[in-house]
Homo-oligomer: 339 residues x 2
Amino acid sequence: MSDNRRSVILRSRPKGPPTIDNFSLETEPVPQPAEGEVLTRTLWLSLDPYMRGRMSDRASYVPPTEIGAPMMGETVGEVIESRDPRFSPGEVVLGAFGWQSHIVTPADRLVPLPKGAPYSAYLGVLGMPGTTAYSAMKDIGQPKAGETVVISAASGAVGSVAGQLAKRAGARVVGVAGNSDKCMFVQESLGFDDCIDHRAVMDLDAALQDACPDGIDIYFENVGGDLQQAVFPRLNTFGRVIMCGMVAEYNDTKPRPGPNLMSVVRKRLKIEGLIVTDKPERFAEWRELAAPWVADGTLAYREHVVDGLENAPGAFIDLLRGHNFGKLVIRVGELTRGQ
Amino acid sequence: MSDNRRSVILRSRPKGPPTIDNFSLETEPVPQPAEGEVLTRTLWLSLDPYMRGRMSDRASYVPPTEIGAPMMGETVGEVIESRDPRFSPGEVVLGAFGWQSHIVTPADRLVPLPKGAPYSAYLGVLGMPGTTAYSAMKDIGQPKAGETVVISAASGAVGSVAGQLAKRAGARVVGVAGNSDKCMFVQESLGFDDCIDHRAVMDLDAALQDACPDGIDIYFENVGGDLQQAVFPRLNTFGRVIMCGMVAEYNDTKPRPGPNLMSVVRKRLKIEGLIVTDKPERFAEWRELAAPWVADGTLAYREHVVDGLENAPGAFIDLLRGHNFGKLVIRVGELTRGQ
């Protein structure tokens, strides 16, 4: 254990889009776990758009990160030292948080991961993003056969699962994604019925009209911006809007106007916000339900792997620009013991 | 039966606020019922803000009235002639529709009214508006003890019932109404905890802040406009917005921007539209539940009575301006037989 710990620190708060200067990489001795704690060495770090909220000091659903503190993020780690009888060195666990190479965590926050599925999948398709998609469809969207479901950020970690769940329910599923490669993936690998490349179409309204001739019953909102404005007038009576994120507006310094809400009355729309941690029981439910689908290949997913903790800030900046393609994970370390 | 039938006809579609010229009064012979139909003579006609939607030809949740056709509205009427065994002359019934002195209706659309409560109450506190308030609180709002509930158009037919139901659930209830007499009624007769006179306050934001120091858990939306903008930032986490109407914007010729929806994600808000006829079972449920409360005086209500069908257009124009005080009903005729 002669390693040092490397941490990505929030150095300053961004105004608008984050830049590399908002982060710094710091090195210090690896900390020691106290009684009841576990030291992990990070294998995989998850980067997700919600982390932009933590970089600001305005109210958000996650508390802001203090200046000088490490950035927070879910990891998969290998147990290096355990002062709790439930964990032993060499085990692989979920639940240590931080853009850090080594993390000390109270043992009761850790979940041991079974062998079988790739460990990184527990940060994506089987983890928080997959569970978000599951809860979105189960608790709010409730797609029915024959309905039309529009999924924004369709090739992403959440959207890709949400659309596949809507397909399983028999709905017509239309994705919206940011380039032709993503659209090809959405249609060919994920099996969506159609996909709109929002950066290529000249007229988003017309493209939605073409792709959704019977209107839109469910809109899974991850992006906001122009797409939200284009979707609203096409929502059908009793339409549902699952408000999961508005990444296109996260860097705005003042909020844009939203859609006029008179149509909510007229069409009896339901617009509901979702944060996956509100229903913590969904995590284990989803792992149990979806692990066999990952194993047999009927639930497709794609990862965007970036190597090295030092590259996390740049990868995160690209994520907010939509430059990733699939669930963004940082490979921070390799497993020391054979799996 | 030597009477003529008088009808208020839609003569032209309003651009912006309706004017008297959009209506005309026509006279023709009283129609005769066919087999299975009932002829009623109207005693009471209900005027409600939703009728503004029928005057336009843009899509609404109620189909538009044709130019030259009578305006639609719920009535209480006395049976004059029945060609259905279930009804006899002299009975008082709900369910004939029209701004008309005489109406022919298929018998299976009519509901006989019991004696006891004033008949006009079946158009207000026990009728469509009361049922709307009941469904709003039962199906969407679900107020809990200690929560803060804001009711717009608080002295009106719907708001007055909604607020009293929230009080019964133990919530702190704040009304918003359009003058000091209405606010006095809302606090003293309806028992709301506070009431904001939105025409008198200089700063609506500050007034809401004062009246709702713990934020807003439920907003019952009947008006839209500035109040909606002021309420949104004060909604608490897991707040509910019941979208029932936006009367302040009904005369707009182009829609105003709505609130930015990022807070829906952050606070997990639920914004849901309600039209009472979607759950028709609520009507009978509510009549049964609330009739004893009307009888024993524990459910307060107020009517704004205007005499004469010919005065319906002017009264309706005033209703959209908020010049009524209580449920607006038109006394079209008197009961011919003793009750």
